[in-house]
């Protein structure tokens, strides 16, 4: 069977190999990470956030363009990144910096998962918005951290994609034959899945531990010890984004949703419809922002 040949071809590739042998791996500019840390710190200041953005001219230019996009509908043009922090606020600019830092590489196609141009971005940004909405609803989570965790949750797919090229059909055949989710197939063939690869990369980037956990456990929130509401929010956000069809690849919706995550977030199943509705409205309104990004 074709699936067995995949096992043989990939059997010797360790998780470390995947990361070290993949060329063109994405990076997040150090300035964007510094912005995130500063904005998330209880003693964070707008001035320092502006200073960090200013350390990276490309990042500063993208943030400025996003701040001036039609999405914010400001009556006058923001002239520089310092002003963006003053007008939009430190937290808003923090999220813009994360968008500016990830958009260039997340919009590339990922053939291994049969994700066309922008599909990875569409899905990742969807989970960011959905996780943020869930955090807002539960009131027990930091909305911005939820946004970033959602944005980065599938980072591992970016690294793993090239190794799965031309193999996805056989992997799906195996999933159907053995009644498995797609991440289970990845683990069966490789010994790890895209969530593990993402967490490994996140650690290499020195991302805060809660973000690394959200990447590692986004398909298995019950496996996270102790349980994490951030992981739960990303898991449920991922479920909603898949359900709404945002950026689906060849692996489709072949994943599991753990209802306990919904319960831990103290959401009633009825709330899920409402969050879905609000999430889609918010997501669609962001389209104006990305029109600006494409001009860069």
């Amino acid at each position: 069977m074709q699936a067995q040949s995949i096992t043989m071809a990939q059997g010797t590739l360790t998780l470390e190999d995947i990361v070290s042998k993949t060329t063109d791996l994405p990076t997040i500019p150090a300035a964007a990470l510094a912005v995130m840390r500063e904005a998330d710190s209880p003693t964070g200041s707008s001035r320092t956030v502006a200073h960090h953005i200013g350390q990276d001219q490309a990042l500063a230019a993208r943030v400025l363009r996003l701040a001036n996009s039609a999405y914010y509908g400001l009556s006058r043009q923001i002239m520089d990144h310092q002003e963006a922090v003053v007008v939009l606020g430190m937290r808003c600019v923090r999220n813009l910096a994360m968008v500016a830092a990830t958009y260039p590489w997340m919009t590339r196609p990922l053939k291994g998962y049969q994700l066309g141009p922008k599909a990875m971005w569409t899905h990742s940004f969807g989970v960011a918005v959905a996780a943020q909405q869930i955090a807002r609803k539960t009131k027990s989570l930091n909305e911005d951290t939820a946004f970033t965790a959602g944005l980065l949750h599938n980072l591992g797919k970016v690294a793993l994609s090239i190794w799965l090229e031309n193999r996805l059909s056989a992997m799906m055949a195996l999933a159907i034959r053995d009644d498995l989710t797609f991440d289970q197939v990845e683990r069966k063939l490789l010994g790890y899945d895209h969530a593990d690869v993402g967490a490994y990369l996140g650690e290499k980037w020195n991302l805060p531990q809660p973000l690394v956990e959200a990447m590692r456990y986004h398909h298995n929130p019950n496996g996270c010890e102790p349980r994490s509401l951030l992981v739960d929010a990303v898991h449920v956000g991922d479920f909603l984004t898949m359900s709404m069809g945002y950026g689906l690849g060849g692996d489709g919706l072949r994943y599991e949703v753990e209802p306990e995550a919904v319960e831990r977030l103290k959401l009633q199943p009825e709330d899920v419809d409402e969050i879905t509705s609000d999430f889609v409205t918010e997501y669609e309104s962001y389209a104006k922002m990305f029109e600006e990004m494409d001009k860069i």
């Binding site: 049969q114 996805l168 059909s169 799906m172 989710t181 479920f239 898949m242 359900s243 709404m244 069809g245 945002y246 950026g247 689906l248 690849g249 060849g250 489709g252 919706l253 072949r254 994943y255 599991e256 949703v257 753990e258 209802p259 306990e260 919904v262 199943p269 009825e270 899920v272 419809d273 409402e274 879905t276 509705s277 889609v280 669609e284």
Partner: protein, 168 residues
């Protein structure tokens, strides 16, 4: 002349008299529902997201919900001269996540609930659905060419297939 291209986004309702090509992109649990009156030459499509509208909230996008979207599509088609009894319909989408873990919460199964809610409306409005490609775990794109009545469905990993012809 190239026929009008109509992209049916989330919660959208699009109708046309005469030729037109409808596309409903990225259907996960959502449902694409199309209808055509071959005599009046009127066709339309709706992209339904959720089964029921919220009773305590204003519903400014009827296409978002199955319980208001199907009726709103029919109404829009009738405005262009279609006759309800002559409408020939098809639907696609309603996919769901592969597994629902322990203590299955049916409420989370948006795809199956959407399909059920659309079926209810079909029955209530007396519509004729001649083909459906519903359920499973793959994302779909649904297309209708009003001129030929051909309804096609494409999934990410499979070839495009002809679901049905809404014209004899």
């Amino acid at each position: 002349m190239t026929p009008t291209q109509l992209l049916v986004g989330m919660a959208d309702i699009q109708v046309v008299k005469g030729p037109g090509c409808f596309t409903c992109l990225g259907l996960g649990s959502c449902i694409g529902f199309c209808a055509l009156d071959p005599v009046a030459n009127v066709a339309g499509m709706v992209h339904v997201m959720l089964p029921e509208h919220f009773k305590d909230k204003p519903n400014d996008m009827p296409g978002k919900f199955a319980d208001t979207g199907i009726a709103a599509l029919v109404q829009a088609l009738e405005k262009l001269g279609a006759s309800r009894s002559k409408l020939v319909c098809a639907m696609a989408g309603g996919a769901q996540v592969f597994k629902f873990g322990a203590n299955v919460a049916n409420k989370l199964d948006i795809g199956a609930r959407n399909a059920l809610a659309v079926d209810e409306q079909v029955k209530k409005l007396g519509l004729k659905v001649i083909a459906r490609d519903v359920g499973g775990h793959a994302g779909r794109t649904m297309m209708l060419d009003a001129a030929t009545g051909e309804v096609k469905v494409r999934t990410v990993s499979q070839e495009e297939k002809l679901l049905c012809r809404l014209r004899a």
